[in-house]
């Protein structure tokens, strides 16, 4: 009870602190204590075999949970990676053993950092598309979500009115 109201207070404060443009209500999906916000992806160049998935994952519970898998209708596999560019070298490290989301924690999958990689795409992704998918959490179970597809170089989630956003 107290925890819930504290969380609500905190969320309000956090949203209040964000730039106004980001405070639009994003799509929200829930399973158990897990809340997933604004899943999105980027359009893929012609013939590309990989795509990416981004979202915010919040754990509103008191126990840690883990994102252990997922799927989309457009790709054969779903993997979670961390991309880094350190000293000019681009690398991708797979997240081994699932992505942990601690109690009260928000983990953000975003360009240039943690991301879902959609492997072996069966079709290209175009701006304005939506892609159905599932996320599998160790405790919260299966969560059905829908990714909104933005431009090739998009840095933030597309909004309904602006799917061609470049940055």
């Amino acid at each position: 009870m107290t925890k819930r109201s504290l969380f609500a207070l905190l969320s309000t404060l956090a949203i209040g602190g964000m730039p106004a443009a980001m405070a639009q209500t994003p799509e929200t999906y829930r399973a158990g204590a897990i809340v997933v916000e604004a899943p999105w992806s980027r359009a893929t160049p012609g013939g590309a075999k990989v795509g990416s998935g981004y979202m915010r994952i919040m754990n509103t519970g008191s126990e840690p949970d883990r994102l252990v898998g997922g799927s989309t209708v457009v790709a054969e596999r779903f993997e979670v990676h961390r991309s880094t560019v350190v000293e000019g070298v681009a690398r991708m490290e797979p997240v081994i053993g699932g992505l942990e989301i601690g109690p009260g924690q928000t983990v953000e999958l975003k360009p240039g950092a943690l991301h879902a990689m959609l492997v072996n795409l069966r079709q290209g992704l175009n701006p304005g598309d939506t892609v159905k998918g599932m996320l599998i959490f160790e405790k919260a179970g299966v969560l059905k979500i829908e990714y909104r597809v933005g431009g090739i170089g998009a840095q933030t989630a597309p909004t309904a009115a602006n799917t061609h956003q470049g940055h």
Binding site: P45, G47, L118
Partner: protein, 210 residues
């Protein structure tokens, strides 16, 4: 009891973190505004002689034609290395390069832009042709035999490595910097992946002016 304390502590930490982030954000913006256009924007680097980056290569472009370093002589040239099974860095670089060319307007025709794959096994000229249709048509993509690609990467001092992933797949680690050469193929500058668009564009303009 202890759980309430924990929550309070957590709330306090989060609030402090949010506050610090905001202070940092504003400070950064202020700093950027104060220093843009000053010597910070374009650090002066003094070297003795020209770094030995760039050299002979022989590869195939996405239209299936054999090309060498001589193909690109006569115009300053931008080279970067990557691969198409790359979810983020490579499409982002190609997308940004497309935007730079648009910004340059007619001057863009005085520049070659070359994308070299480090994954010749999967990146055939046919696949590259389809892939490049999503970007500025002036950007040329190059591939070759694994040996030819190794030789080209070596000439440009570009490191790359195959890294196995789940399910018998692999990904590539590679230098993500953009290399700018002059019209004779001599090294001019590097554009780091994290450099902002304005700085990158300024470097391209400088290369075009010679």
């Amino acid at each position: 009891m202890s759980s309430t304390l924990k929550i309070i502590r957590w709330v306090a930490f989060t609030l402090i973190a949010v506050l610090l982030l905001q202070i940092g954000f504003f400070a950064w913006h202020w700093y950027r505004r104060e220093t843009s256009g000053s010597r910070f924007a374009q650090p002066v680097i003094t070297t003795t002689g020209v770094p030995d980056v760039g050299g002979p290569f022989s590869l195939v472009n996405h239209r299936g034609e054999r090309v060498t370093q001589d193909t690109f002589k006569g115009k300053p040239t931008v080279y970067f290395f990557g691969f198409t099974h790359c979810p983020e860095v490579c499409p982002t670089t190609l997308f940004e390069m497309t935007q730079h060319l648009k910004e340059l307007g007619p001057d863009a025709d005085r520049l070659n832009v070359v994308f070299v794959t480090v994954d010749p096994e999967r990146d055939t000229p046919e696949l590259l042709k389809t892939y490049m249709e999503s970007f500025d048509p002036r950007i040329v993509a190059l591939t070759g035999t694994p040996e030819e690609v190794t030789a080209a990467a070596k000439a440009f001092r570009v490191a790359y490595r195959k890294v196995p992933t789940e399910g018998g797949n692999y990904t590539m680690e590679h230098s993500a910097s953009v290399i700018v050469t002059d019209a004779q193929g001599g090294f001019v500058s590097l554009i780091d992946y994290h450099e902002d668009k304005a700085t990158a564009l300024a470097k391209l303009k400088r290369a075009i002016r010679g």
